[in-house]
């Protein structure tokens, strides 16, 4: 009896589903436009004053009208945020590894950091101003101070949840703790790390904007608070929209790096499918 001795099966249709149009890359636009439409309609129908909540059309007018200033301030904020964020990445990774390294440091330092992070950073900015004057430095530092914590937490969680089986592979080779950290700890916690970057980048923007509100001659925070004190609410919202756009751009960058770096972890078909 050979394998060819099969009863003829239903005609062997090649399974090539008609190539469907790929909506996926369009989704961000669809959602965004949808949001703006609902917003516009909501404002128009409810008749809310533009000094409280301007309609998107009104905001875009403001963007066009003040484009020169908006551009300059946006670039300043993007700059301070990026620098602060990079510092947070380096510092957060280092601190996360340190906390993952030793239970003693974990037990001692973690609560302190939680305590520090429960404090609104806006209370810290005046102190930074006294030390560094106003402008770029406190903005960068505030972005850093606010953004490093999620990275620390996620890297430390990633390290704490390593499967002992994986660790044992290295331990059996007589690896030092440092080796285990480098060869298993860091790669294994990368998915956590990248998750945290998405949180950290948004917080970094919040940090630099807060600092600019209190202490800067430029940046979106400065622009918005200046506009706010003029009750130029459409311009305030234009600043918020610019912030959102910059945040999304940085997120896209993170997502791209994540995809290239931790593809091994993102193999699930069902989830996000």
């Amino acid at each position: 009896m050979s394998a060819s001795n099969t009863t003829p099966a239903p005609t062997a249709l090649p399974v090539t589903p008609a190539k469907k149009f790929d909506w996926l890359p369009l989704m961000p636009w669809i959602y965004t436009i949808g949001l703006f439409l609902i917003w516009e309609l909501g404002v128009r129908l409810s008749g809310v004053s533009h000094t409280i909540m301007p309609a998107p059309s009104r905001i875009f007018e403001a963007i066009i009208q003040y484009w020169g200033a908006i551009q300059r301030h946006s670039i300043q904020t993007l700059y301070t945020t990026s620098v602060g964020f990079l510092m947070a990445v380096v510092g957060g990774l280092a601190l996360g590894l340190l906390i993952g390294w030793s239970r003693m440091i974990y037990a001692g330092l973690y609560p302190l950091m939680v305590g520090f992070n429960a404090i609104p950073k806006v209370a810290v900015v005046p102190i930074l101003v006294i030390w560094f004057g106003i402008g770029t430095v406190p903005a960068i530092l505030t972005a850093f101070l606010i953004a490093f914590f999620p990275i620390v937490v996620n890297v430390a969680t990633g390290l704490a949840t390593i499967e002992p089986e994986t660790e044992d592979v290295l331990r059996a080779l007589g690896a030092k703790k440092m080796d285990i950290m480098l060869k298993v700890g860091i790669p294994r916690s990368m998915p956590y790390f990248f998750g945290s970057l998405k949180i950290a980048i948004t917080l970094a923007f919040v940090g630099s904007v807060i600092s600019e509100t209190v202490a800067a001659n430029s940046g979106l925070g400065y622009m918005m608070s200046a506009a706010q004190s003029q009750f130029n609410v459409p311009l305030v919202w234009a600043g918020l929209i610019m912030l959102a756009v910059e945040g999304i751009a940085m997120y896209a960058l993170m997502a791209w790096i994540e995809k290239r770096t931790t593809g091994w972890a993102h193999r699930s078909q069902t989830m996000a499918g």
Binding site: V129, G133, S229, Q230
Partner: protein
Amino acid sequence: LGQNTPVRFTLDWRIEGPAAGFMLAQANGHFADEGLDVTFDVGAGSVEVIPRVATGTYDMGFGDINSLIKFLDEDPDQPIKAIMMIYETPTFAVVGRRSLGVTEDPASLEGKTLGAPPPDGAFAQWPAFVEASGIDTSDITIESIGFPVREPMLAQGDVDAVFGFAFSVILNLKAQGIEDEDIVPILMADHGLDLYGNAIMVNTDFAEANPEVVKGMLRALAKGFADAVADPRQGAEAVVAANEILDVNIELERLQMANEMNINTAYVQENGMGGVDMDRLNSAIEQLKLSIGIQSDISAADVFDASYLPPMEERMLP
């Protein structure tokens, strides 16, 4: 030009109409004439200025003298003093809406809900104002509301009146679409509260080391403020040049109000800007004991130092 002495100066707030004097001193070259290279940094309120100058982060600044009195009362050793008065009368006010039953009479506030930003300078004077005007606070409700929602909440009618500087509240209410006739400012100064307002402050360590620089600064500033009084439109334009999102006409209005109510007052017309009446300042300190709880026996001389002021004729406003 490179030889100019650098001076770090912190403003009380962002660059808006009332800051025209500073901008014009810069734009019209008065600082350069004194051999000064001044950088203006914006501030986060006229209180925040004080620690900035006291710690030496800034050499000089523009802040509220009442807060300075409180600050020095807490810690008399701090190296900071006021050296030139700018807002001779502060426009501390309670601004209400006629349609909500508020009139020019402070007694009309009884039974009303007042909105107060806790860090607001006018709100800080409330106890002294109550004392001076003799109103009954027993059924006045005070709601703590921040600056961003102060005028919108008044415009919405969530509160009946708010604390603040008269000209900024009035302009902001107009921006919210409230009619001129509906806006009722009750100026505290009109009802027995006799205080000074914002002044130029200096870090005394810096002043002792560079007395000529400080004197030069004050000379230049006196010219700048005179320019702003003489040609408010030029002042408003200088402000808009520094802060391009502003509207010239609004800033002009703001500047004119500030000139009229705070800077170019009757006393100043007579005695020139910048100086203080030490007796009046001492009586202001007495009032402050009530309102913001001054405890020590701090006196006007501990707060204000007139020795850097240029002669009176150079301080006269047009």
